[in-house]
Each structure stands twice: as C-alpha cells, then as structure tokens.
C-alpha cells in the first residue's frame, strides 16, 4: 500500500522543480553559453570585450568598495538596533514596523527618495542653505564629486537595506534565552563582554545568513546607484544593463552576469567557511 504511493512526494515536488528548471536553470545555462561563445562557437571574445572596457575596472572597484562600506555598517547597525529593541518592553512591534518601512519600497523608489534629498534643488541643499552653511546650490552627485557621490549612494543603500539584516538579526537574538546573558552578568561580565562572548557566538547562524544575503544583494546593487549617479558611478549590474540595452550586446551583458554570479558564489563560500556554524555549540 505504502510502496504503491511512493511517487506521491515526487508528484508534489514536481511543479516547483519544473518551475525552477524552466525559469532558472534554462536561462542560467543560456546565459553561461551566451557569455562563453561567439556565433555559436566557444570563445572568450565576450570576456575580453568586457575586461577591456574602460568602465570594467571602475565598476568592479565601485561595487566592491560599496559592498565593503555598506555591509559592515549594516550588520553593525542591525546588531545595535536589535540589541536596543530587545531592551524595550512596550511599543516593540511599532518600532520594528517603522524600521522595516524601507523594505516595502522598491529599490528604484528608494533611489528616487534619496535623489529628492541629494539633488541640486533637493532637501539637503535647502536645509544647508537655510542654515547658512552654503551660499548657493551645491552639486553632490556628479563625477567631479566622487566622494560625495559615493557617500550619498552608500547612505541610500544603508537606509534601504538595513531592515532585512535587522529582521534576521532580531530573529537570531530572540533565539538566545535571556538566562545566558543573566548568568554572564552574575559572573561579572560587562555589557560589552556579554555581547561579544555570549550573544555574538550564539547568533552565528543568523549572522551568517544576514552576511550572505546582504553581501550577495550588495554585489547586485543597481537601481539606487542608477537613480542617484546615473553612469557617473559604474557598478557591475549597471554595466550589464548598459551592454544589454544601450549597446544591444547581449553576450557581453551575459559575461557580466556570469561574473556577478561567480563573485556572489565565492562570497557565500567564504562566509560558510569563515563563520562556521557548529550545531553542537548552539542552544
């Protein structure tokens, strides 16, 4: 009886497998092939075109710099926010809800929000002008002001993407029974020691997930950058977009896509290795 029905689980899983196969694996293979072929023949020509392009080096550098600036700050902020909110008794849900508002906004819309703040006629200049700090409109988002542009983009990205990190961290913090921290406190651990010696090791799984998710998303940054900097701040996905739409060269765009995927996979492997999660050492 049971043996006759052993195909049922497979039947139930089938739709998702077919769905993923059609919409993920097939395009993935097509993209890979597109990247490493030329007129149907295996070739590295697209890769060479990509690497020789003047924006290639800058887009890699910008993407990595942005990731290196944004991810640690987001993790640190999420840890601080999560720790603070865990001390709050009343209004906890409201605070979390407000903090997660940016999650509900598409990244392009988020870019537009920050554009309205940072552009020449934006709120920032208006504020600085009314305070007498600047005498006329200042441009922040041009290629002549790379540091300001970078900072502006980083702030917008941090604003937009911290909530998802915080949700994962808060979920992790909720898993740590308060007795651990209290026991440490009784035995003389300072708040900082409790955080580093007790809390952090116990939220390793959440930390690992948050880092992987956030880093992969950071390598895919595009809409916010495009809204604020246009082509003044080339990033990897932006270049893929340009090759696809402006240059109509799908093969070089595919080469970029493959590069981004390889970097993301490498980052994921890096985190899995560096932040090992040993289930035996968890509560």
């Amino acid at each position: 009886m049971t043996q006759n029905r052993s195909w049922i689980p497979y039947l139930l899983i089938l739709p998702t497998v077919v769905f993923l196969g059609l919409l993920f694996v097939v395009p993935l293979i097509q993209t890979l092939w597109l990247a490493v072929s030329d007129n149907g023949v295996p070739s590295l020509a697209n890769m060479q075109t990509m690497v020789r392009d003047i924006n290639f080096g800058r887009s890699i550098l910008n993407t990595f710099l942005l990731t290196l600036a944004v991810v640690p700050i987001q993790i640190a902020m999420a840890l601080a926010m999560g720790s603070m909110v865990s001390k709050v008794n009343g209004g906890r849900e409201t605070i979390l809800w407000i903090w997660t508002i940016p999650l509900g906004i598409s990244d392009l819309a988020a870019g537009m929000v920050w554009l309205s703040i940072l552009q020449n006629t934006g709120y920032l200049n208006t504020l600085l002008f009314s305070m007498g700090l600047i005498e006329r409109q200042t441009a922040w988002l041009t290629y002549q002001t790379p540091v300001a542009l970078f900072v502006g983009i980083a702030i917008a990205e941090i604003w937009r993407g911290t909530a998802i990190v915080m949700i994962i961290i808060v979920a992790g913090l909720n898993q740590v029974p308060k007795e651990f921290k209290e026991a440490a406190e009784i035995f003389g651990a300072s708040p900082w020691t409790r955080f580093t010696r007790i809390t952090l090791p116990l939220i390793r799984p959440a930390l690992q997930s948050a880092l992987i998710l956030r880093t992969v998303l950071a390598f895919e940054v595009f809409a916010v950058v495009y809204a604020l900097g246009g082509r003044n701040f080339p990033v990897l996905v932006g270049e893929a977009y340009n090759w696809q739409n402006q240059n109509q060269n799908y093969s070089v765009a595919a080469a970029y896509a493959v590069l981004i995927m390889v970097i993301s996979l490498a980052a994921t492997l890096f985190y899995l290795k560096v932040i090992k999660v040993d289930p035996e050492r968890l509560p």
Binding site: A184, F187, T193, P201, E280
Partner: protein, 350 residues
C-alpha cells in the same frame, strides 16, 4: 560573615504586586529554601537578591552591606538557573572557568578552582566536551560547578532540580547536600517541591501569594504550620482540616475531650494523617473510609471525618475495607488548632 537581611521588600509589575512586604534574615552558612507554589514570587525575590531585578521598595544587605543599587557582580554571589544556562558554545571547562575568567584570575588559579569544582561534582571526564553532548543531570552539575568555582559568599539556586527526572532528582539532592555542606556557602534555594525543601534546608521560608507565611526548620513547619496554607502545602498527604464546634473551651472527640485555645464557636482541627492510631471499635474520631489503599509501607485511607474530606495513614498491618467506618485516636501534642476565620494557627500548646 555573609548573612543576608531582606527587609520589607516589595515588588510590583504594573498594578500587580508580586512581593508584598517580604522580610527574612539568613545566617552565615545557612541553607534556606524559599518554598511555595508556582507563581507565588520565589523567582522574583531571588532575582531581586541577585540584582537582576530591582525592588519597588525595601532593602537587602549581604554581609552587613546594603546591596540595593549594586550590580550583580558586586554582590559576591553566584547563581544556578532553573534551565542551567550553561553556555552551549563553551566547553565544560570554560563554562566552569567563566566566573574566574571574568575576575581575571591567573591561569594557575583558574585550573586549580575548575579542577576542585569539577571534582566535587564528578564532571572531570567531561571537561573537554560541549554541553550539548551532556545529559540534563550532567549539565546541572556543570551549572553548580560553575557557581562553586568562584567560591561565592552566597549561592542562589532557582529550582535547580526541577528539570531532572524523579530518580536523578533524588540522587542530585543527596549530592547537593553533601557538596554544599562541605563548601559552607550561605545558600538560598528556590523550589516548589516540599520534599526537596524538607530534605535540604536548615530553614524553610514558605512563600504564598507574595508573602512569607512562615519561617522555620523543616520539623517546626511540618509539625506546627502557622497557617492553613502551610499545613495544606507541606506533607504528603497534606494536613487534614476538620471544622468542629467548641463547647466551653472543649472539643469532644469520641469519648475524649480536648481543651482548645478558644471558648466557643468553631475551631479547625489540623491533623497530620500519620499521627493517628486506630482506636478500639466504637471509640475515637469516626472516619468513613471510601477507599483503603495498601501502599506496602503503610495503609492510606481516603474518606471523610464529620462529613469533611480527610486522608489518614495507618500501619501496613491494619486491614480496613472500603466503606468501613474506623475510629481514630489523636495525639493531643501533635495536633494543630486553627482559627476558622483567617486560617491562622493558635500557638502550640506547651
């Protein structure tokens, strides 16, 4: 001298009063249990002593020094939590060493203290393991070793045995008593298990509804409960309470007459089930037996006395049939008389 003086402690959570004016003095080296049903405020009191919770009002001093406002680490105490709170990401050795590391003790002292505590609790074989590999009883030992390793003046324990199975609980109870006696630490032990409290304590403070109802040695509390609550909470079976009419300062029981501390109205007889003897037939206090259960070591009778529920214990050699009426002889020295109005007992007869 690490005595503890708890002075008029009150604690409110919003409108709810968890502790209503609690006072208790614990002598140096004494083992005192806070015994009471779940939700009566035992943990809250312990956490206030530890400094994990702040009292709404009142004072606590440890070793003659008020500790109100001091953080836990400056109170010279250690604590064993109900669910052990043994750190899962540290080896047993590092768990036991934790308090010493926080005190920045040198490596030689850490090793010496860890080995000593581990030896007392027989956990030397597990020092290199992680707690997840250990059973509940072993984790329990690690938690106690961690507390003893810092040689605290005061040891606080919150239901440390409640998560263990019955057999292990008995074993750990005996062992705790041996270990703590040799350590000579002033100990406050929270439990809802009366046998644990009776077996371990020098004195017991019975907590009920945010108040301490009675403080005394296990024998005092057992024999002369201060209130109906204490008598009913302690002892298995619990104390029987039989309301009886008083005539001219006397209560008539069978052919006998007992003088009681009030002259008229009603009085409540507090009767420990095992203090009675079977009277010759037709004499004594009549009990209608509903069920007689031979327990091997004794015979447990459940039924009613003067139409009020009662449970008594007779020697295993007696035979009683279900539905039979038996007469019971009371020992005037071993009964407690209580006021029917407030359930407070009259002072024991001299």
């Amino acid at each position: 001298m690490t005595n503890i003086v708890i002075d008029n402690i009150r604690k409110s959570f919003g409108p709810f009063q968890a502790l209503k004016d609690v006072s208790l003095t614990i002598n140096d080296g004494e083992f005192v249990s806070l015994l009471g049903p779940s939700g009566c405020g035992k943990t809250t009191l312990l956490r206030i002593i530890a400094g994990l919770e702040t009292a709404t009002s009142g004072d606590i001093s440890i070793g003659g020094r008020s500790v109100i406002g001091l953080p836990p680490k400056d109170r010279g105490l250690a604590m064993v939590f109900q669910n052990y709170a043994v750190f899962p990401h540290m080896t047993v050795y590092e768990n036991v060493a934790f308090g010493l590391r926080m005190q920045k003790a040198d490596e030689a002292r850490v090793r010496k203290q860890v080995e000593k505590a581990a030896g007392l609790l027989h956990i030397e074989p597990y020092l290199d393991r992680y707690p997840n590999k250990l059973s509940g009883g072993q984790r329990q030992r690690v938690a106690v070793a961690r507390a003893l390793a810092v040689e605290p003046g005061v040891l606080l324990m919150d239901e440390p045995l409640s998560n263990l199975d019955a057999l292990l609980r008995l074993e750990m109870r005996t062992e705790l008593k041996t270990v703590l006696q040799s350590a000579g630490t002033t100990t406050i032990y929270v439990t809802h298990d009366q046998t644990e409290a009776m077996g371990l304590s020098d004195r017991i403070a019975v907590v009920h509804d945010g108040r301490i109802e009675q403080v005394g040695t296990p024998v005092e509390i057992y024999n002369h409960p201060a209130t109906r609550f204490v008598g009913g909470f302690i002892g298995n079976p619990p104390m029987n309470f039989i309301t009886m009419p008083v005539l001219a300062g006397q209560v008539a029981i069978g052919s006998e007459s007992f003088s009681v501390p009030t002259s008229s109205g009603d009085i409540v007889l507090g009767l420990r089930g095992e203090t009675v003897e079977r009277a010759p037939s037709g004499q004594g206090l009549e009990m209608q037996v509903r069920v007689a259960e031979p327990m091997g070591s004794h015979l447990l009778l459940t039924g009613s006395i003067l139409d009020q529920p009662a449970r008594v214990i007779l020697p295993a050699t007696e035979t009683v049939r279900n539905g039979e009426t038996v007469g019971l002889t009371l020992d005037a020295k071993r009964v407690t008389w209580l006021s029917p109005e407030d359930g407070v007992s009259y002072p024991a007869a001299a």
